[in-house]
């Protein structure tokens, strides 16, 4: 009796194992799980599609109709004659400030932290501090810009009653340069950390100094990674609006028109693409073509920002493949 139960138990187990191995039973939980994952990922992609479709659908017609006029015209009170030149000019100068100030400072700090700094308490504190700075909301950098740059620059115009005199293109550029600084440092540090140690040792082996090794071996190898990170942070800076509102950017037209490259405007009031979009989006949608004008302005900003992102992503993928 006992023997036969054991036998049938073994038989049962054997059948079960064979069935599992042959996979004849439909795996319901696995299917549901997998389906919900694809559903989640699919909705993420769909949302991106909806954002793009919405903006492109609304804006492209307007953009093609107005064309060059839209890009080179000044802001106006009528949607049909609205132009975004002032915003483009401000965004261009913000980009210049980020490239000129944030990139050298950030890459320099990354080189110091990765190549020179000993593992001291101060170094660890600086690193923790940089990680935290990267997580500080952008609007807080606006407060910093308002307190330091706007107020400080206001000191140059003691007789003025206009509290906005310090709200200049220079203040905006400096604020956003500081905003992206931690991101530049973190991405550049990662790129430098990924340089194989053997490369440095080879350099030292032939008698190079520390700086020569960094200059001729480490930096060239880390360059694509550093460039990718800086490009992503540039894109981030060009799309920021909140800090600019805090330091008193103009939502609307600046008045007299100066050309793209005049240095004088660094000391004048500013606007930028994200600010113009904010202003346009706040206009009532049912009057005139404001909806299309907003979407067209967004389209221009998106082309710039996504182009920078795409170049960065392609560059990274290219070098990852080459080196693996």
């Amino acid at each position: 009796m006992a023997l036969s139960t054991l036998n049938s138990g073994a038989e049962h187990a054997r059948e079960k194992i064979v069935r599992e191995l042959q996979g004849t039973r439909f795996d319901i939980s696995g299917f549901i799980f997998r389906f919900s994952l694809i559903f989640g990922l699919g909705s993420g992609v769909l949302i991106l599609g909806a954002v793009m479709w919405d903006v492109v659908g609304d804006g492209s017609g307007f953009l093609f109709d107005r064309g060059w006029e839209f890009l080179t015209g000044n802001a106006s009170s009528r949607a049909n004659s609205y132009g975004i030149f002032e915003g483009l000019r401000g965004t261009f100068w913000i980009g210049v400030f980020v490239v000129v100030f944030a990139f050298p400072l950030g890459v320099g700090a990354a080189i110091y932290l990765e190549e020179y700094a000993s593992d001291s308490r101060l170094t660890r504190f600086i690193e923790l501090n940089i990680r935290n700075l990267a997580g500080v909301p952008s609007v807080v950098y606006g407060v910093l810009g308002l307190a330091i740059f706007v107020r400080a620059l206001d000191g140059f115009y003691p007789n003025s009653i206009d509290r906005h005199l310090g709200s200049t293109t220079a203040a905006a550029g400096a604020t956003l340069a500081i905003l992206v600084l931690p991101i530049v440092i973190i991405t550049a540090s990662e790129a430098i950390r990924a340089v194989p140690q053997s490369l440095r040792e080879g350099g030292f082996g032939v008698g190079a100094t520390k700086w020569e090794v960094i200059r001729h071996h480490v930096l060239p190898y880390a360059a694509p990674g550093i460039f990718t990170g800086t490009l992503l942070s540039l894109a981030r800076a060009l799309g920021e609006a909140a800090p600019l509102i805090l330091i008193g950017g103009v939502l609307g037209s600046l008045g007299p028109k100066s050309s793209l490259l005049e240095l004088e405007q660094l000391g004048e009031r500013f606007t930028a693409m994200p600010l113009m979009i904010t202003q346009l989006a706040k206009k009532p949608a049912f009057i005139g073509d404001w909806n299309s004008a907003t979407a067209a302005a967004i389209l221009v900003l998106l082309v710039v920002v996504i182009a920078a992102n795409l170049i960065a992503i392609c560059l990274r993928n290219h070098y990852e493949r080459k080196r693996s």
Partner: protein, 285 residues
């Protein structure tokens, strides 16, 4: 060379010190300039000396909550699929899509939330909802947070050594069992970090809420309903300096430093906690 580079590294410390100093000094000036009873009322309206703190704080809570309801399932599912299921070729094409989503400026999503999410989602659910709602802002912020949660979670899942998955498969576990019982528990501290970083990012997001939730410029009524217009900490700060009919001067202008200090402390705490969780993952593997 060394000292020059060292100065650039120390510059980041200077930035932190300046942030804290400027926030604390002006926030203290603000608190000295008002009566404490002004901090409790029924609206946040600096031009009228009404600084009801619970208005922006509860607004932030509502918006962040909705954002997490949107972002956590989508972000987590994307991360698990990309890390555990996707073939290399699928991953190669899908990851850049999420990265592009991460690169979209927040003002664009603000416009999207205001002009698309409000009529097509919010007002479908609640036809009485006004044109500016916390719900639309929350959904917009959620979309903005998806790529961040997805990428931090994916890093955590990829850090789990393959030997764990292989051991589980070797014992006869199905892929879904391996993922739920082995991989996710092994990566749990990284996933918690992703959630906290997402919350911190959602609280700090300004433009989406500024565009999609704020009806009346620099003035917002206290509300606990997601289908009302309202404000959050960040948007209230931006509204204080944004050009409008009622400019804020003096004490009213300083209110933004006080909110800034609150925001800075909240996000700093969240980031420090997340940092600890991320480091735990690195220490284990």
């Amino acid at each position: 060379m060394r000292n020059g580079l060292r100065t650039t590294a120390l510059f980041s410390l200077l930035v932190s010190i300046l942030i804290v100093l400027s926030l604390v000094f002006e926030a203290v000036t603000f608190l000295n300039g008002i009566k404490i009873s002004w901090l409790w009322g029924d609206q946040w309206a600096p031009p009228f000396n009404e600084y009801d703190l619970k208005t922006p704080l509860v607004g932030s809570l509502i918006v962040t909550g909705i954002a997490m309801v949107v972002a956590v399932p989508i972000g987590l599912a994307s991360a698990i699929y990309l890390s555990e299921y996707a073939k290399p070729i699928t991953r190669k094409w899908l990851k850049p899509v999420l990265e592009i989503l991460a690169g979209i400026p927040s003002v664009v999503l603000g416009f999207f939330a205001l002009r698309w999410v409000t009529p097509n989602i919010v007002q479908q659910i609640n036809p009485q909802a006004p044109g500016f709602t916390l719900a639309a802002a929350g959904i917009g912020v959620g979309i903005l947070t998806i790529p961040l949660i997805a990428s931090v979670s994916e890093d955590a899942l990829s850090a789990v050594p393959n030997s764990l998955r292989e051991a589980s498969s070797g014992l006869g576990a199905k892929r879904v069992t391996t993922t739920i019982k082995i991989t996710i528990p092994a990566a749990i501290s990284g996933l918690v970090a992703a959630l906290i970083i997402g919350i911190s990012r959602a609280i700090g997001e300004t433009m989406v809420v500024f565009l999609a939730a704020g009806g009346g410029g620099n003035q917002a009524q206290f509300t606990t309903s997601a289908f009302d217009s309202g404000t959050v900490v960040t948007a209230a700060m931006a509204a204080t300096t944004a050009p409008s009919d009622r400019l804020s001067e003096g004490v009213a202008l300083q209110s933004l430093y006080f909110l800034g200090l609150l925001l800075f402390i909240i996000t700093l705490l969240l980031n420090l906690i997340a940092d600890r969780f991320v480091r735990r993952v690195r220490i284990i593997y």
